[in-house]
Amino acid sequence: MNALDVTLWVIVPYVSLTVFVLGHVWRYRYDKFGWTTRSSQMYESRLLRIGSPLFHFGILVVALGHIGGLVIPKSWTEALGVSEEAYHLSAIVLGTIAGVCTVAGMAILIYRRRTVGPVFTATTRNDKLMYALLALTILLGLAATVMANIVGGGYDYRTTISPWFRSIFYLQPEGSLMAGAPLLFKLHALSALVLFAVWPFTRLVHMLTAPVGYLTRPYIVYRSREDRAGSQPPRRGWEPIGRP
């Protein structure tokens, strides 16, 4: 494993993940007001109604697929009796459908963003960088899958990329596993790592506050003036009497 491999597959992932985690903590503490989807539906909804669900549902399936492929070890699925062929086939079919939906949705959304005047005006430089990275990552991912499986003879990333991915979280990084992966997979992983590093500073933060709690909370929320989340706690030395 040479220095480049160590940099790319050991150092960069840790830097990226650290920035991802600390960036979110920082953003949540100091920019709660900026934590929003910044929806542009008010300006245009005809294209959005096709593009946005296509993209979001697509990327959710893609994300689930990544969890299945990267996080769950091959030995587990094999213990369940799923053969490599069966896994591979389902991954390709599901992944390709979801990937195509995501790319199509993204294409519609980017087209909309560029051509609809008010939407384009509301697009910041930050958004443009985010779109570029996101699009690059998605396209590289789709390209890697297509090249390896449909054009090529298939590539079992579950023996190289997945263990590498898990090894990062075990804190025993095995960068050498990644060194031998096909170029497109490498580029996809690198691009994703860069995306994770800018993630907390873009509008993508909305993903982390996906409102799943809505399913279980009571409909009407009462809050007392006292426990208002936005009010600052008294400064040190200024706490009123009677507080433990």
Partner: protein
């Protein structure tokens, strides 16, 4: 044991609204004169019949705001439950577009100065504030003001369509009135229920419905959930915003901006006590026409000793209970029985109520050559003129004409009864008796409606001193930092530490100036003069440093 909660509520007397839009303008100046909120009017005044703002917002078959009863008889959001909300979160199909409100614009004022010399006078062309491009102004928040364009536009009024069998829009039979609208601060708010991130809440102290700007993620479901379309999306910040009932003002006991500046003095603000545990039950009454009575049954009588005991138990402070007893809102709804809610059929239990206008009836009657204020004529006309009644009933009582008729009869009785008083004739108790009132109550009601003294219109208890330290601006937590407290200034003398909150300083200085006949009593301000409140007259002590004692 009932769980008693307090609610700040408003009543508007529509007979007195002249449609001057002062409330809208002052509200806009105070709250929504910011980028991203150009199209937003927390307070707007609509001409009825008309399409309203946003256009046709009352058509709930289209917008699906508010609640409905499910097949199992339980309340559910008309736009769909939790799962459906999350599944449509990526593109809300029921979200109004900017064109349903209107495309805000400004003018190219610069051209008036920078245009080259020419034969023609330069003009300032309108420019869209959304696209920045030159635009053609096609609609606004009150485009159909005063029935402008009514033959074309009014037929699209969703309320009018419901009663269209009876209504003719011929010029000579036209009628209109103004409907000023703010957020209803509902007891059963469907916007709060629709918010996926739980950022919207009802304040448990005073029932004001607010959006926590730090928790709002811009999912836009509240805009859909509110049947009155009074939650707005700030397209610049990506957050929802709404009428705040001017909470920083009512917390210190002064009325909302819209009420304070109302030229017609038609707004009343006061407390209502209600039984929080019975709200859902009352909102689920099967018959829409029974919703008005159901909502009234949730509100409690502040004079009832049992209610007072329960309220104390629920932690409502004594002065709030006193304010609830003096509440003009309770009087108008219960003692005089003249206020009605806006669209009770949305099942949100709105808390901004209206006294429906009698004037269309009086006007029509006078135009036909009758004495428009004679009791007999008026009573007859209220029943005969089914046009306004049916229309008013669709707005204020879910289509049931009876409550509207009862209110209009009381208002008519008041007019006739008080005319006798003003003309020095004998008081005719029979007029009062005919509408189930006494002459005394009628005169009280007249005092509240016609004289409308400031301190009777607005009975607003202040937010509590012991809670006051936690109000937004007083985040230092030391309540002695202002108004003569020993904690004035920080540990290193005056001007160290946190500055006294501006709102508090101004409020006390202003009150001071209003109550005294001495110019700027500087000693109260500890050698400082608040120039914001200095009216330029005289030279108050403390404006300049004291001269050295000459001795």
């Amino acid at each position: 044991m009932t769980r008693v909660m307090a609610q700040l509520a408003m009543v508007m007397n529509l007979d007195k609204c002249i449609g001057c839009h002062t409330c809208s303008v002052t509200c806009k100046q105070a709250w929504t004169n910011r980028a991203g909120m150009e199209y937003v009017w927390f307070n707007n005044v609509e001409t009825r019949p008309g399409q309203g703002y946003p256009r046709t917002y009352q058509d709930q078959e289209k917008w699906k705001g508010g609640w409905e009863l499910g097949r199992n008889g339980r309340l559910r959001l008309k736009a769909g439950g939790r799962l459906r909300k999350l599944l449509t979160i990526f593109a809300n199909p029921l979200m109004p577009s900017i064109n349903d409100y209107y495309e805000p614009w400004t003018y190219d004022y610069d051209r008036l100065f920078s245009a080259p010399v020419s034969e023609d006078t330069p003009v300032a062309r309108p420019r869209s504030l959304i696209t920045g491009e030159p635009t053609k102004i096609r609609w606004s928040a009150n485009w159909d003001d005063n029935l402008a364009g009514a033959p074309e536009l009014a037929p699209a009024d969703p309320v009018l369509r419901k009663v269209s069998g009876e209504v003719k829009l011929e010029f000579e039979r036209a009628f209109m009135f103004y409907l000023p609208r703010i957020c209803e601060h509902c007891l059963n708010p469907s916007c709060v229920a629709s918010c996926p991130s739980g950022a919207m809440y009802k304040r448990s102290e005073d029932g004001i419905v607010l959006v926590d700007q730090d928790r709002c993620r811009g999912w836009r479901m509240c805009v859909t959930g509110c049947p009155y379309k009074k939650v707005y999306f700030n397209h610049r910040t990506g957050k929802a915003e709404k009428c705040t009932f001017c909470y920083p003002r009512v917390e210190v006991g002064i009325p909302t901006v819209c009420a304070e500046t109302c030229v017609g003095r038609l707004r009343y603000i006061g407390l209502i006590l209600y039984d929080a545990d019975r709200v859902a039950e009352a909102a689920s009454v099967k018959d829409e026409k029974a919703l008005l009575e159901a909502q009234k049954s949730v509100m409690l009588d502040p004079h009832d000793p049992e209610v007072i005991a329960a309220a104390r138990e629920s932690g409502i402070p004594e002065d709030w209970l006193e304010a609830a007893k003096r509440s003009p809102i309770h009087k108008l709804i219960f003692e005089y029985g003249v206020a009605l809610p806006l669209h009770p059929e949305y099942r949100t239990m709105p808390m901004v109520w209206y006294i429906p206008p009698l004037s269309p009836v009086v006007d029509v009657l006078t135009n036909t050559g009758h004495d428009g204020e004679k009791a007999g004529n008026l009573f007859g006309a209220i029943d005969a003129l089914r046009i306004p009644i049916g229309y008013l009933a669709e707005i204020f009582s879910a289509g049931d004409p009876e409550p509207v008729r009862a209110v209009l009869r009381r208002l008519a009785a008041m007019r006739s009864y008080m005319r006798d008083v003003n003309l020095g004739r004998d008081r005719d108790e029979s007029i009062a008796a005919e509408v189930g009132m006494t002459g005394e109550t009628i005169e009280e009601m007249y005092r509240l409606l016609a004289i409308a003294a400031y301190n009777e219109r607005y009975v607003i208890p202040k937010a509590h001193a012991e809670q006051g330290a936690k109000l937004e601006e007083l985040a230092t937590g030391c309540s002695l930092d202002y108004e003569g407290g020993p904690g004035m200034g920080g540990p290193f003398g005056e001007a160290s530490g946190e500055p006294a909150p501006v709102a508090v300083e101004n409020f006390h200085a202003l009150k001071e100036r209003q109550d005294t006949d001495v110019l700027g009593r500087a000693d109260e301000l500890r050698g400082r003069v608040n120039l914001l409140n200095w009216d330029g007259k005289g030279m108050p002590d403390g404006l300049f440093p004291n001269r050295k004692e000459e001795s």
